[in-house]
């Protein structure tokens, strides 16, 4: 027998849509954060960083160490995790970019692939192959009329959007940020104008490293911390390209767009379709509008 549906149809449909949007925005904010890190490295240093996902993973492990093993207070966990991520970014810049400055892009890509393997296997050896939970946000859901909004979702979206906003301000309004933008448009002209290219490279990887650590810190409460976390970078790439890999706001918007599209596709089409929609959209956008949905034309 059993009870019937609790919610009347129309109200439930509206609730379903809103829940999907919220879920999509949460996932999207994480994609956007990852896309941002990938984009700034690519724009400034022309490197397709396949190891970015593993930088995110290491960020999650750093957070785990500071929070669960060393029992530091949360603000310090944030600070130290971001610092560690920055250092990791700088390390990678030294190891990969410096020696391979004159190598072909393909060679650099494979170097990042090797780094991906190194980081992943190191994580497995040091912390083991299982997963750790990282419950840094309280999960008690807020009740908003008939909607449930978990603490996790709220904090994740707020923090990621804040950092992306901060970065955007930095990128557009500060001198160094302008230097980074100039380098990515035209390195030769930029250096003629007095931009120090090595400093830009240095700074780009440092910031990307910090962003990666932040991403790891935000993803970990949702998924746990485990060595294969880095796989999210594929979606991050797709989101960035969808939105427009040539532009920072484009890439960020692409992340949100992908998150929401996946959520809606999963609910309204099928859960199997949810997997594939990201790549269908990616291929479609690349065929019809390669600069991305929100990117600059031409």
């Amino acid at each position: 027998m059993g009870r019937g549906r609790i919610f009347p149809s129309a109200l439930f449909r509206k609730e379903m849509l809103i829940q999907n949007l919220i879920g999509g925005i949460q996932a999207g904010s994480l994609y956007a954060l990852v896309a941002l890190g990938l984009i700034i490295i690519f724009k400034a240093t022309s490197v397709l960083n396949f190891a970015y996902g593993e930088m995110v993973m290491m960020g999650a492990y750093f957070s785990l160490v500071f929070y669960s093993f060393l029992h530091l207070p949360l603000p310090l966990v944030f600070l130290f995790a971001l610092l560690s991520g920055t250092l990791l970014g700088l390390l990678l810049e030294r190891v990969i970019c410096q020696p391979l400055q004159r190598a072909s892009p393909m060679t650099i890509v494979i170097a990042t692939v090797a780094m991906m393997g190194i980081l992943k296997s190191l994580a497995r050896l040091i912390w083991g192959p299982g997963y750790y939970a990282l419950p840094i946000f309280t999960v008690t859901p807020f009740q908003f009329f008939s909607l449930s909004l978990s603490g996790n979702t709220l904090y994740t979206v707020l923090i990621s959007v804040s950092f992306m906003g901060l970065f955007y301000l930095f990128f557009v309004f500060t001198k160094i940020g302008k230097g980074m933008r100039a380098t990515s448009e035209n390195p030769i002209a930029a250096s003629l104008m007095g931009v120090r290219i090595p400093q830009v490279f240095f700074l780009t990887w440092a910031i990307a490293g910090a962003l990666a650590a932040l991403s790891g810190l935000l993803i970990a409460p949702l998924t746990g911390v485990f060595p294969d976390m880095g796989n999210i970078s594929v979606k991050g790439f797709a989101a960035g390209v969808l939105g427009g890999f040539g532009s920072v706001p484009g890439g960020i918007l692409g992340g949100f767009f992908l998150g929401v599209a996946e959520s809606l596709a999963g609910s309204y089409i099928s859960t199997a379709f949810k997997d594939v929609i990201a790549f269908l959209l990616l291929v479609a956008v690349l065929i019809f509008r390669p600069t991305g949905l929100f990117g600059k034309q031409g």
Binding site: Q19, G24, G128, P129, G130, S148, S263, T271, D275
Partner: protein, 425 residues
């Protein structure tokens, strides 16, 4: 008289020539050693299984070696990695067979690795003993392959029985993971529910590695089940449960063995599981319980690094230990002349194997699926794990494993026919 004497003399002479050869005629067996090959994912994304299987097996092996071995032969285990990939698994198995010349192979748990290994075992006529939940291994008859699972086939059906008999479920929703692990489980749920004339109120599917389950949770909420059966990996299942709770779904959850991991509660959060979460527990007690204490103590002493990791040891360790003990028992019963065929028929005819940590396991000549009984674990109102002392055993007149001459299709037909006739009554 002389002729008789001559006849017996000749006979005796033959015996003298043949006798030394008899003791050493089998591959992998020497005067003082029995070589056992081992492959499991020691590296790669599934590498949390490999060390468990190895440690469990080595506990059993070291026990018997320290006691002097089997007829003065010590067991030597040669460890290889398959990275949960079928091609690599076959490479590992071939190396073990050809280079290391092992007597038998012990492996698990990835489905494609064990199925490929089994095909190879049939070809090379070498016994393969597998710790895995891959029901495909026994759905067609393989003379040389044995499985200690529990297979997805048995797990899914017993979970349905538990939900209906124990939890009095009236509206059952099912969640399963696409892939070789979850899919047979999901199908098992649906098929078994036919016995009770029931259908799932909703069927929800997801992929390994998913992190956002909004779509799935909303679908569950709409169908409003009172019990949800889940056949997924640990993380994925825990995430679904948490996200469902965040969205306001109040149901009871029953998970497969992957849910028998103590840290599920950390990822799923206490509020979501307290008093409403059950999972298959194959051992006679939960891992932190009194009956498993001796096992845990020895394990921690032998493998301190692994024991320090979260969720070690788990049921893979204990299952591998059981497997090791069964193999050792069978080897002992074979006596001094050990051959592969003898080993196989001994395993098949050994009857019930009793141990201090598992309910009885058993193979039969037409049934190489050794584990068909389970207990249960739950989280109580305070979020503490409690053992549920209710034994669920598979005792229908058909099973998920094929005997000689049967195939996957015939056993499926048998089951459906059985449910049809039940319905008519």
């Amino acid at each position: 008289m002389k002729r008789l004497f001559g006849f017996f003399g000749l006979f005796g002479l033959w015996g003298l020539i043949l006798f030394p050869a008899v003791g050493y005629s089998e591959v992998g067996v020497t005067a003082n050693e029995i070589r056992i090959g081992f492959y499991a994912p020691m590296t790669g994304f599934a590498s949390y299984f490999g060390p468990s299987l190895r440690n469990g097996l080595m506990m059993a092996v070291d026990e018997v070696n320290n006691a002097g071995g089997i007829y003065d032969r010590k067991l030597k285990v040669i460890i290889e990695d398959d990275a949960c990939d079928a091609t690599k698994a076959v490479a590992a198995a071939k190396k073990l067979i050809v280079r290391d010349k092992v007597f038998m192979i012990f492996g698990g748990p990835c489905a494609h690795s064990v199925i490929s290994g089994c095909n190879l075992a049939d070809e090379e006529k070498i016994p393969l003993y597998v710790v895995s939940s891959a029901e495909e291994l026994v759905k067609n008859y393989h003379k040389y392959c044995f499985i200690i699972g529990m297979t997805t086939w048995n797990q899914s059906r017993l979970m349905v029985d538990f939900a209906i008999n124990e939890l009095k479920a009236k509206r059952i929703g099912i969640v399963y993971q696409t892939g070789a692990y979850g899919q047979p489980g999901g199908e098992g749920f649906i098929t078994r529910m036919k016995k009770y004339g029931m259908e799932p109120v909703t069927t929800v599917v997801h992929k390994i590695g998913d992190t956002d389950y909004t779509a799935q949770v909303l679908k569950l909420k709409e169908a409003n089940p009172d019990v949800v059966l889940v056949f997924s990996y640990t993380k994925e299942g825990a995430m679904i449960i948490r996200q469902a709770w965040e969205k306001g779904l109040k149901a009871k959850w029953v998970m497969s063995t992957t849910g028998n991991i103590p840290s599920v509660i950390d990822l799923a959060t206490k509020e979501a599981v307290a008093g409403r979460y059950y999972a298959i527990n194959l051992t006679l007690d939960i891992i932190e319980g009194p009956k498993l204490k001796p096992f845990l103590e020895i394990y921690t002493k032998k493998f301190p690094a692994d024991a320090a990791r979260p969720d070690f040891p788990n049921d893979r360790d204990t299952m591998a230990y059981l497997g090791g003990k069964m193999i050792i028992e069978a080897l002992k019963r074979c006596g001094k002349d050990l051959t592969r065929d003898k080993f196989i028929s001994t395993l098949e005819n050994m009857g019930e194997f009793k141990s201090d940590i598992f309910p009885p396991a058993r193979f039969r000549p037409n049934d190489h699926d050794g584990m068909k009984t389970t207990y249960w674990v739950m989280y109580d109102e305070n979020g503490k794990r409690r053992f549920i002392d209710k034994l669920y055993e598979w005792n229908e007149p058909f099973s998920g494993s094929a005997g000689p001459g049967e195939t996957a299709e015939t056993i499926k037909a048998k089951e459906e026919e059985y449910y049809r006739t039940l319905k008519k009554k």
